[in-house]
């Protein structure tokens, strides 16, 4: 296969897409899909998460190992399979055998792991599981990888190929059924058909809003205009969200195919992928994939010999959170400062360069090809009455297994946290989960059994958002959480509209006054009280009047935490206490006179000179000067300092 010239190769794979019989490919297909292999293959999870965990060093170590042992094997970089907590993940597939997956393979234990793999003598703590390859033999006593609790309840449509195939090979993507959806679209359907299918499938925008995708496309299709645009919003900016990054790094062609289908559906000839510049690997993979697709005639003029042409461009975002808002994103592509425009007109009517424009998120596009291939009914059979299909979530926070999952809509949050993610770390108590990023809200114990659905989440004061799930345990202070998000929003507000720009900043200041050191006596207490009285009113006005969704949802973290954890706020305000000791300024320390030896160490280390005392006699803390940093407690050699 590798020896074929480019034209021949293109013909073979285009035939495969078109379903033409071709002897050469049929013989090779099993090899391309690696159901049959001639030499061992070592797969390394080298998405951004894997690389962060040291995958690059692991790869070097693997190559050294193979060289030293004179083993002829291929080393392949794949995307993220989802189990980010145990990266770097290395899979080994020997000819005729199943693919076996190892966790936490650092450069230090590579030799040990590969010894295990090549000798088939495994140690349980290193092995994750085995992945069935065709009809190959199973390893005994090794669990099925996809039957692991982390995977068992998942349903992978968007992430189907992630972590399994080589993201830089278009041939593999095609061998696994890629671009058939695009071919079917171009040969069997009209634009209106495709919009119908997508509408019937019940696919809704995965970027947060949940607007029916088919409906949006139809509006754009109905616009009479000689130029329309398609934009993929890959400006993933929520803290704790990395779904789009992983999806692009692991399977870039799925996005390109989905966009090409969407472009056909609305009549767009030019598309943009707006992606943050902080995602260099995803951008690199996209560039490779786009170049490959162009060579095979899957992008550009007359795609697959049809009359349909579609050119795709990458536009890198400079890192402003607000550019994830669609009209700000449009401004940014046009070369202006990323600031939202009033809607209406909606982009589907007048968007980029004032032309009809459809903007969807990465995950939305990644669903499209599968829907075309398998039909609207297949897709709508997954999920609930109002929310169809699956949703990808990025799990982070105080759970055992952080990572990326794709679950059918309707799965409960309890199931995600306790079945899939393995529950709370260190056997702490669950407190809340923040869903939907800075625009979302908290879900508490009492609502853990609600299903993941656009509507049900809104009902409890949260929202689907793009898919970040941050889990918090009993050690998290909810006022501090609200403060974190408020700080994020007031820094990332574009500064255009007054309620968002000025209001979020005042809200942050009020939260800061609640969590900062009690100073100034009664008057300060009164000011604090006045501030709190303002919080809810400010929140209402900001929600009611802000220009874009960023501002309209900016008060959500406060409103949500205030709703579910009002007692924590009251404790901060009235008792001047933070039960979790997160708000350091509210912490108080005391020196136990019996235990203090007067060594003076604490007084020397104290950054605010708040500790006084003479040598060899017990010291004292001046509360007014103390900032609650805890340095004294950490430095004391005699356990003479306690937090009260």
């Amino acid at each position: 296969m590798d020896t074929l010239n480019a034209d021949k190769r293109k013909k073979i794979f285009v035939d495969l897409i078109k379903g033409n019989k071709n002897v050469e490919i049929e013989n090779q297909l099993e090899y391309i899909k690696r159901e049959k292999i001639n030499k061992p293959i070592i797969y390394v999870g080298a998405g951004t998460c894997g690389l962060g965990a040291g995958a690059a060093e692991t790869i070097i170590a693997i190559k050294d190992y193979l060289k030293n042992k004179k083993i002829d094997a291929d080393v392949m970089e794949v995307g993220c399979i989802g189990l980010c907590a145990v990266e770097p993940i290395v899979d080994v597939q020997l000819p005729g055998k199943n693919r076996i997956s190892f966790q936490k393979v650092s450069c230090k234990n590579v030799n040990n792991i590969l010894d295990q793999a090549f000798s088939s003598k495994f140690s349980k703590e290193d092995v994750l599981g085995q992945i069935q390859i065709g009809k190959a033999d199973k390893y005994a006593a090794i669990p099925d990888f996809f039957k692991l609790p982390f995977f068992e309840k998942q349903k992978r449509i968007v992430l189907k190929n992630c972590g399994l195939i080589n993201p830089e090979s278009i041939d593999e993507y095609i061998a696994f059924g890629g671009y058939v959806g695009l071919y079917n679209t171009l040969t069997k359907h009209s634009s209106a058909d495709i919009c119908d299918i997508i509408e019937k499938s019940g696919l809704r925008g995965r970027g947060g809003g949940g607007f029916p995708t088919g409906k949006k496309w139809k509006i754009a299709l109905q616009q009479q205009n000689n130029q329309k645009y398609l934009i993929c919003n890959a400006d993933e900016g929520d803290p704790g969200a990395f779904m789009d990054r992983a999806a692009i790094e692991g399977d870039p062609h799925r996005l390109i195919e989905g966009m090409a289908i969407a472009a056909y559906a609305i009549g767009a000839s030019v598309g943009y992928i707006y992606i943050r510049a902080e995602y260099p690997l995803a951008i690199a993979r996209l560039k490779v994939a786009m170049e490959q697709a162009r060579k095979y005639g899957l992008l550009g003029k007359n795609i697959l010999d049809s009359k349909f042409s579609f050119e795709l461009k990458i536009k890198m975002g400079a890192g402003a959170f607000v550019c994830g808002e669609e009209t700000a994103l449009i401004n940014s592509i046009e070369g202006y400062r990323g600031m939202p425009r009033p809607r209406p007109p909606f982009p589907a009517v007048s968007g980029l360069f004032e032309k009809p424009t459809v903007i969807n998120n990465v995950e939305t596009f990644a669903n499209v090809a599968e829907i075309i291939c398998n039909g609207a009914d297949w897709f709508s059979s997954v999920g609930t009455a109002t929310s169809k299909g699956t949703k990808v979530f990025a799990l982070s926070g105080k759970i055992k297994l952080t990572g990326l999952i794709e679950i059918p809509m309707g799965t409960t949050i309890r199931s995600i946290i306790f079945d899939i993610a393995g529950g709370i770390k260190n056997n702490k108590k669950f407190k809340a989960v923040q869903i939907g990023g800075p625009s979302g809200g908290c879900i508490t114990e009492q609502n853990l059994d609600i299903p993941i659905e656009y509507e049900s989440l809104i009902k409890v004061g949260a929202m689907m958002g793009s898919g970040g799930l941050v889990v918090m345990d009993e050690d998290n202070c909810m006022v501090d959480v609200a403060k974190f998000f408020m700080d994020f929003i007031q820094r990332e507000s574009c500064g255009k509209c007054i309620p968002c720009r000025e209001g979020t900043r005042r809200m942050l200041e009020i939260l800061e006054s609640i969590t900062s050191k009690p100073i100034g006596g009664e008057k300060a207490a009164l000011e604090r009280m006045k501030g709190i009285m303002q919080l809810e009113k400010l929140a209402t006005v900001i929600k009611d009047t802000s220009l874009c969704a960023l501002g309209q949802s900016a008060p959500n973290p406060i409103l949500s935490t205030l709703k579910w954890f009002r007692e924590e706020y009251e404790e901060h305000i009235f008792e001047r206490k933070c039960a979790t000791h997160t708000c350091t300024e509210l912490r108080k320390f005391r020196i136990l006179t019996d235990a203090c030896t007067g060594c003076t160490l604490c007084s020397k280390k104290c950054p605010t000179n708040a500790i006084i005392g003479t040598k060899k006699s017990p010291h004292f803390i001046i509360d007014e000067k103390c900032i609650g940093c805890g340095t004294c407690k950490e430095t004391c050699n005699f356990s003479a300092i306690e937090m009260i």
Binding site: R337, P342, R491, S493, G495, I498, P499, K543, D544, T545
Partner: protein, 574 residues
């Protein structure tokens, strides 16, 4: 298509495609706005124009939201009022709060709104942003602390002027309007037109105020104080003193300036006539001798700077004539000084202009000689009003006086310089006479009058068909320049005014006047033209005298020395 909507329970007719704000305005329902600008696409930034649509979960901004049949709107429900009030309070919580020390006191939109919405208590407190004053430019001072980020200045600078000297900088609560790399206006592309000041709702943008320099000068007993005022000035300040907008108060102005202490009061309109003599001669010279065409006017200093920055390939197309301000200034310190037995350095020459860019123009290197400047201090209409008040002059009771010789008589052709198209019209009247020997039968050239951003026509002089264009608003000039760059050859003479409408709407004029006032000013200028007998510059007796006694003829050696200038390509931070 006509549709019906309901506003505050009352049925109102509206048309499809209109915004709610348009319909409300037509029906005399006031909605406050801060970012809204007529004839601009709504930006939706200030959120003050929010109204409630019954059944809609959120308030909508009426400036951008289109009406729909059957829509029920509440413009002053408690929810709406409370929201607007909170927005105003939020702005005030980050505002310096020094109204009494602000040049815009009593003429500030934020101040009025605070009063309108009964803000009488500081309910929202917090840290205020601290920024440095940008007074690096010659004409405009920016105070970002007073800025409420409505974005009007940014938009007029970009969309009307195509200059983009200022833009939003930073994000979130640290957002501020700034220049390139925050280096200050002097290194930016700012052309000093001052239109940003005209649209600024607060005191964040002001002219570089030089009233104190004038006050100081008036105390210098060993100097001769000479003042000139531009053609548009006398029709631009009547309403300030309780007279109908557009009233020509040139007699009162002469009296007031003398009361203030100026020894000689000249009319820049005389300089305008002089400019026409030179410029018409230059045009004829260029056309008949096959020199570089089209010729652009050069009396607008903001346009000149713009050309130096953005169209350096057209600098040879700019007329070499100085502006009326500078010509008058040059004559004051040469001919006038000679006949009055004064040394140029004994004269302090003040000009009153509708313009902030004149402060830049007067300090250009070529605008003086032997160490003195043609004009020493250039102030705006606004500064003039301040001086009148400061010096306790009661405009209503003073007796009109006439201007001084030798620069007091003017033609009405010079007077219409104040409106867009005026320079063109005046120049053509004189050019026609020069080329044909006859006067025009009808002096009115209607095709170049009016407020449109671009006006074009063809004029036949002898067998020569001259293509002329008049543009105001530099973005319009940029479009025309591009057409010429792309090969357009049918235009020979182009008048460019930076401010839309010309000097009557200049960046130094009174702030906060509406369109009808500007229209009254324009009408007043053309009424003067209708009324007066000397309608062409070349018949101005003092102009004739000046040439006879001093310059000999237009484009003479002496006039080149005193009345013409040159331009340089300018590198600025973009």
């Amino acid at each position: 298509m006509s549709i019906q909507i309901e506003v505050n329970g009352k049925k109102i007719e509206a048309f499809e495609g209109e915004t709610i704000l348009t319909v409300l305005k037509r029906n005399a329902i006031r909605v406050p706005t801060l970012c809204h600008m007529n004839d601009f696409i709504p930006s939706g930034a200030c959120r003050l124009c929010v109204v409630e649509i019954v059944g809609s979960p959120k308030l909508v901004s009426s400036c951008s939201y289109p009406v729909a049949d059957g829509m029920k709107i509440l413009t002053n429900s408690p929810r709406v009022i409370e929201s607007r009030k909170t927005i105003i309070e939020l702005l005030l919580s980050n505002h310096p709060d020094d109204c009494l020390y602000c040049i815009r006191n009593n003429n500030c939109e934020l101040q009025s709104l605070a009063k309108e919405y009964h803000v009488i208590e500081r309910r929202i407190n917090g840290k205020k942003n601290s920024f440095k004053l940008d007074h690096a430019g010659t004409s405009i001072v920016r105070d970002p602390e007073k800025c409420i980020l409505c974005g009007r200045c940014v938009r007029i600078c970009e969309e009307t002027m195509g200059v983009s000297a200022i833009e939003y900088v930073n994000r979130g609560s640290k957002t501020v309007i700034g220049t390139t790399m925050q280096k200050g206006l002097n290194t930016s592309s700012c052309v000093n037109c001052g239109q940003c000041i005209m649209v600024c709702p607060t005191g964040a943008l002001t002219e570089k105020n030089q009233t104190h320099l004038v006050q100081d000068a008036l105390q210098q007993k060993n100097k001769t104080l000479v003042v000139q005022y531009a053609p548009s000035i006398s029709v631009s300040l009547a309403e300030e003193f309780g007279m109908p907008p557009g009233t020509d108060i040139n007699g009162l102005l002469n009296a007031a300036l003398r009361k203030m202490g100026f020894k000689y009061v000249f009319d820049t309109t005389f300089g305008a006539d002089l400019t026409i003599m030179e410029e018409a001669a230059e045009l004829i010279d260029r056309i008949t001798k096959g020199k570089i065409l089209p010729m652009f006017t050069s009396c607008c200093p903001a346009w000149v700077k713009y050309a130096e920055e953005f169209a350096p390939d057209f600098l040879d197309n700019l007329s070499t004539c100085k502006s009326p301000q500078q010509m008058t200034g040059a004559v004051i310190k040469s001919y006038f000084a000679e006949i009055s037995n004064l040394k140029p350095e004994e004269i302090i020459s003040v000009s009153i202009m509708p313009c902030t860019a004149k402060k830049f123009e007067m300090q250009r290197d070529t605008m003086g000689r032997n160490g003195y400047k043609d004009v020493d201090i250039a102030i705006t209409t606004r500064e003039l009003i301040e001086l009148i008040r400061l010096n306790g002059i009661d405009m209503k009771s003073i007796i009109p006086e006439i201007t001084d010789s030798p620069m007091g008589v003017r033609s009405s052709a010079g007077k219409i310089f104040g409106a867009t198209g005026g320079v063109m019209e005046a120049a053509l009247r004189t050019a026609y006479k020069s080329l044909t020997g006859d006067e025009l039968t009808n002096f009115k050239i209607n095709a170049v009058r009016g407020f449109q951003g671009r006006k074009e026509t063809k004029i036949k002089i002898n067998n020569l068909e001259i293509g002329i264009a008049v543009v105001s608003g530099l973005a319009n000039a940029a479009l025309l320049i591009d057409e010429i760059r792309n090969g357009r050859k049918d235009i020979h003479f182009i008048e460019v005014m930076t401010c839309p409408g010309g000097c009557i709407a200049g960046g130094g004029q009174r702030i906060g006047v509406d369109r009808s006032v500007i229209e009254a000013r324009m009408k007043s200028l053309y009424d003067i033209d209708d009324r007066e007998t000397i309608k062409v510059s070349h018949k101005n007796p003092e102009i004739i005298e000046l040439y006879d006694n001093y310059f000999e003829h237009p484009l003479s050696h002496k006039s080149h020395e005193l009345l013409h200038t040159c331009y340089i390509k300018r590198d600025v931070l973009l």
